[in-house]
């Protein structure tokens, strides 16, 4: 008995529909994105003093802190610190790292934390109660208390009317000392040299502008040693006027310009003197941007580079600081070049190198002299503007090698090593707002031809087909040429890796908030095939992307649309914005799916135009929470209107997917009778919440008549938590956070409710309509028989989708996005069967049906996780697409990260597995054939001999 139980348990554990380890990175891909790296919080750093290779660290505008492997662009670790800060961050966060330190320190808002540079584990966290962190610096100076690998942090906290400078212990994050400046100056920055800590604040001058006040502090005690005020009120109008404050340098500098950008003003921090250097602008056009690049290392030479950008070109000047006299002198100039350029400084020992990447080449110079140490032509000159870069230079004897991480305006983060693009991260995809599967037009011609044949007479169709086949013969030489390669590759590789011809290699069109459109190829691990700037905007609100063969059209909320070619990304056509703001886009699809017609829906739910050609009904939602039904020919008065009871607000509405095939119209019970499914393509599930009474209501509407077919209300619902719902076939599911509400419910937590619709409660009964082949919603629409069941689930679900397969024979999976654990889980539908017997074991008939005992707590099985160990963060929507293989459904998730995989809910029953070896089969057949040819003459001879002997 125990053995039986063990065997049964083992059978249950068999890897049903789980991801096999060898399928990871094979059938799925994951773009772990960071967002736009901020220029002053991005750097190369060796994660520990012992390691040779450095990692690329950044803190992005999305407040994602990450380490990227410069070798392949893969993410080593990532932390989302946007949720850690109590007060909202002003602008970007700060990230500082230091060679010789094991940790990187970052700050957002009032939150400072240290992370191990190697693996991103939190070292310490500190929340500032007084205000927000204004600046951060790691203290490089060695003192007696410092241990190797740990550096203390100096932080400036800007609070109400005061600036606080704190030294935080590198191990614990505890405050070592604190200096409080209550003079009312604007706390600005912190800087340090080898002996002193400088607190730089901006003092409001009498009339206008600011004076820069430098307070020199003792690094070990925090006592003020002296104070200097620079008379800069004529030049510094706002804190942004100060271009640069150096830190961790032998002679840190403050740099600003005069108002007319005619001269640079440089002050070596701690001295009173202001060096004024005339800007030698030979380009003749106005300087647009000035950036300063200086080493941030105590023992580095006190050299710095000022980069001047104009509209058309850029040049740079290198300056040396004399340590003794605190004089700044110009050393040499990098010539003016038209086009864009990005400069980065890097340090080897004491030497400082500057890397300049222009449109055509990458150049490395030493700070000491203007001689070019290395020059590489860029392999693929890019027209995309380079915004900023960080570089790492390696000296090999006399020559140097350089790798630069360059961030471009269109969101590509590229690593250029000696002029070659090593990798490219498309960080703009983090802002993906809409996506759809592209339809290629490769099969379109054939489909068209077949259609022609279908409409002709028998003889004509036959002739047409013969002609078509003769035409096809022109592909024969190519086909024959490819044949050996195809045979060889099909023998050598396994079937799973060779499924591109079965529709698993589809491309996805993704639109981002910044007006860019990308095509990602799921067959090539989500590689970006192309990216175009479709619209120049930073707030592109995309309402729908519709794919028709060969092209995809992106509809925006202002009524404009852009049509792009899905294979090249070329913009085919554009429709200019109209004056009305759109709430949604209605799509009329012809029955054969050949043509799409769209009509915009205004925010009050009215269609912009009437649709004369269409003979259908339209269901819209308005911004004030009503659901409206329209006859397509009339856009003036709605046919019906659904207004939830007072106090309730419609938050979501969902309908069955456009492609939702039903393989069987009934469910076969254990005694082989049939429970008929209630199948109606016009169903809509409307979610309404009442924030006062904390209830959530779910209404099942018929989209033609507006009739409420089923309604249910859940009490104790937290409407601030995500409420996700989905509908498919004859069932719908929703999840919410339900609270204990007196004696009403004993379930507190996240709940998942599934409801199935049947035509009748009795088996073998088709309800009122019985055997009618069609029905009208307006005449007789019977109510469904609804069977529901609730499950307690461990965490919230932010989005739900359903796997789609070609014919719907494969069991479906409920694809749930789990925002807390950053994963996507595919719950098999049989588990969520509401007919599972409650409080009793199933009868034989029920067991035959596959029902097992209901358990209220539904734990997400590890096998269900489609994203397995991956950290798929910030997913907003999941798309599913059928492939030519019935067993396989493509899944694509976007929102913040990009994730794609193949789901096989009933296992890959139509694919030969990896264990099937074609080579072995061929060899066996060959061996048998050889055996037969050798043995046949021998046997024949033997038989003849036997005859003679008899």
């Amino acid at each position: 008995m125990r053995l039986q139980a063990a065997l049964f348990f083992a059978a249950c554990l068999s890897p049903a529909a789980a991801i096999y380890p060898d399928e990871v990175n094979h059938i799925d891909f994951h773009h772990a994105l960071l967002g736009t790296p901020s220029p002053d919080s991005t750097f190369f750093l060796k994660p520990s003093p012992a390691s040779n290779a450095s990692l690329l660290y950044t803190l992005s505008d999305k407040l994602l802190l990450g380490a990227v492997n410069p070798r392949d662009g893969g993410l080593v670790w990532r932390q989302n610190i946007s949720r850690s800060a109590d007060s909202p961050a002003h602008g970007a966060g700060l990230l500082r790292g230091l060679d010789g330190n094991d940790a990187v320190v970052g700050a957002v808002g009032n939150y400072i934390a240290s992370w191990s540079a190697q693996d991103g584990k939190v070292g310490w966290e500190n929340r500032v109660s007084e205000g927000v962190v204004g600046d951060l610096e790691l203290l490089e100076l060695e003192d007696a208390t410092a241990t190797s690998g740990v550096r203390d942090t100096i932080a400036v906290v800007a609070s109400e009317g005061a600036g606080i400078v704190r030294r935080l212990n590198g191990n614990t994050g505890k405050t070592v000392w604190e200096y409080k400046d209550t003079s009312g100056d604007v706390p600005f920055q912190v800087s340090s040299s080898s002996t002193e800590v400088f607190y730089i604040s901006l003092q409001s001058a009498m009339l206008k502008g600011f004076k820069i006040k430098v307070t020199v502090l003792d690094p070990s005690t925090g006592q003020q040693t002296r104070q200097q005020i620079l008379n800069t009120e004529a030049d510094v109008a706002t804190p942004e006027s100060v271009l640069y404050v150096g830190a961790n340098s032998a002679s840190p500098i403050i740099l600003w310009t005069d108002k007319s950008q005619k001269s640079l003003k440089v002050n070596v921090i701690g001295t009173k003197e202001i060096n004024s250097i005339t800007i030698d602008n030979t380009s003749g056009s106005e300087i647009r941007q000035i950036t300063v690049h200086a080493p941030r290392k105590l023992n580095a030479l006190p050299h710095f580079l000022v980069h001047f950008e104009t509209e058309a070109g850029a040049w740079a000047e290198v300056f040396h600081v004399d340590l003794m006299s605190a004089k700044v002198t110009k050393a040499y100039q990098l010539p003016y070049l038209t086009g864009q350029s990005a400069v980065a400084a890097s340090v080897i020992d004491a030497n400082v190198y500057f890397t300049r990447i222009t449109d055509l080449e990458a150049v490395v110079v030493s700070s000491a002299s203007h001689g070019i140490l290395g020059r590489w032509d860029l392999q693929k000159p890019s027209s995309d503007i380079a915004l900023h870069s960080v570089s790492e230079v390696v000296a090999k004897g006399k020559s140097v090698a350089v790798r630069s991480a360059l961030f471009r305006k269109h969101g590509d983060w590229q690593l250029i090593r000696n002029g070659q693009i090593e990798w490219s991260r498309h960080e703009d995809l983090i802002d993906a707002v809409a996506a759809t599967w592209a339809e290629t037009d490769a099969q379109e011609d054939l489909a068209h031809e077949l259609e022609v044949e279908g409409h002709e007479t028998l003889y004509g169709a036959y002739l047409h087909r013969v002609k078509r086949h003769i035409r096809d013969l022109e592909h024969l030489p190519d086909w024959l040429k490819d044949l050996p390669k195809r045979i060889l590759s099909s023998i050598l590789t396994d079937e799973v890796s060779n499924l591109d011809s079965f529709g698993v290699a589809r491309s996805v069109i993704v639109a981002t908030k910044n007006g860019r459109v990308y095509a990602l190829d799921t067959g090539k691990h989500g590689a970006v095939s192309w990216g175009v700037q479709a619209v120049e905007t930073s707030q592109w609100i995309v309402k729908a992307i519709l794919a028709s063969p060969g092209v995809a059209t992106i509809y925006s909320d202002d009524g404009s649309s852009v049509t792009v070619d899905v294979s090249t990304g070329e913009i085919v056509s554009r429709i200019e914005p109209s004056n009305s703001k759109l709430h949604s886009i209605a799509v009329f699809e012809a029955q054969d799916g050949s043509s799409l017609a769209t009509v915009g829906v205004r925010e009050d739910g009215t269609p912009v135009t009437a649709f004369v050609n269409e003979d259908g009904f339209l269901v819209t939602t308005s911004i004030d929470g009503r659901v409206l039904g329209w006859f397509a020919k009339d856009n003036k008065t709605p046919v019906w209107e659904f207004v939830p009871p007072s106090g309730e607000k419609v938050v979501d509405a969902t309908a069955r997917p456009a492609h939702d095939p039903v393989a069987s119209i009934g469910k076969v019970l254990g005694n082989r009778s049939v429970l008929y499914k209630y199948l109606n393509p016009n169903l809509a599930l409307v979610t309404a919440v009442n924030e006062q009474t904390h209830t959530a209501s779910f209404y099942l509407l018929d989209g033609v008549s507006g009739k409420v077919l089923h309604a249910t209300t859940q009490a104790g619902v937290d409407s601030t938590q995500p409420i996700a719902s989905v509908m498919s076939e004859n069932w719908f599911a929703y999840s919410f956070w339900g609270d204990v509400d007196g004696s009403e419910s004993s379930a507190k937590g996240y709940q998942l409710v599934i409801s199935e619709l049947y035509e009748s409660p009795f088996p073998n009964d088709r309800g009122v309509l019985d055997s009618a082949t069609n029905y009208s919603s307006t005449a007789t629409l019977p109510l469904p028989h609804v069977i529901s069941q609730a499950f307690m689930i461990p965490e919230s679900i932010s989005h739900m989708a359903v796997t789609q397969t070609r014919q719907g024979i494969t069991t479906r999976q409920l694809l749930c996005t789990l925002p807390f654990s950053n994963s996507i889980v595919g719950i098999p539908r049989p588990v969520l069967d509401p007919r599972r017997p409650v409080d009793r074991d199933p009868t034989t008939a029920e067991a035959e049906e596959g029902l097992f005992r209901y358990a209220p707590y539904l734990d997400f099985d590890g096998k269900w996780y489609l994203s397995h160990t991956r950290d798929v963060a910030g997913i907003k929507a999941v798309l599913s697409s059928p492939t030519l293989l019935e067993s396989t459904s493509l899944v694509f998730a976007y929102g913040s990260d990009i994730y794609g995989t193949r789901a096989t809910p009933s296992q890959a029953f139509d694919i030969l597995g990896k264990s099937f070896s074609k080579l072995q089969l061929v060899l066996t057949v060959v061996a048998l054939g050889a055996g037969v040819t050798v043995l046949a003459p021998m046997t024949r001879r033997k038989q003849v001999n036997a005859l003679w002997r008899a």
């Binding site: 949604s584 209605a586 259908g616 009904f617 939602t621 009934g666 009778s673 016009n682 069609n774 919603s777």
Partner: protein, 186 residues
Amino acid sequence: MSQARLPPPPPPQWVVSLNSPMPRPSKAASSIPDPPGFSSSRGGKQRQQQQQQATTKRPEDTDALKMKKAWEIAIAPSKQIPMNAIMMYMSGNSLQIFSIMMVLMLFKGPIQGLIGTNAAFAKYDTPSTHSRLLGVKVVYMLMQLALLCLGIWKVNAMGLLPTTRSDWLAWESERQPLERAHFAFR
């Protein structure tokens, strides 16, 4: 030519004994048991009977005998019914290769028997017995049908007969709505 025609020589002994019937064995000789291992005793008897029939040639007796044999053949399938029933009961209702094979055999026998009804009774079919053989044939067919029913019962028990609603589900079609709604929810 002076030679006179000689009378033909007397036939040899073996020809004489071949042509003359075997002498009836004496009582004593018939009581002698056959030697052990001598297998053709029944054949011998049959030959004797045939010889007797041939010698006696009483048509009524022959017909009665033929009818008796025909009845035996007609009843024979009924003897298989209990055995087959037990076998079918024991083999279970699961769809396995053995139970399927047994069911197939069960069907094959009766169907072949039914087809070969006339052949089975051909040797007893004489003009005189023809009319009387009709009843025998009917009984024979009934017996085969009984076996066939056993097979059908078994197939039904295995769930192979399309007698339930679910068996015809694939031929039922989804009810089509006359109106179509398009949703613009996003």
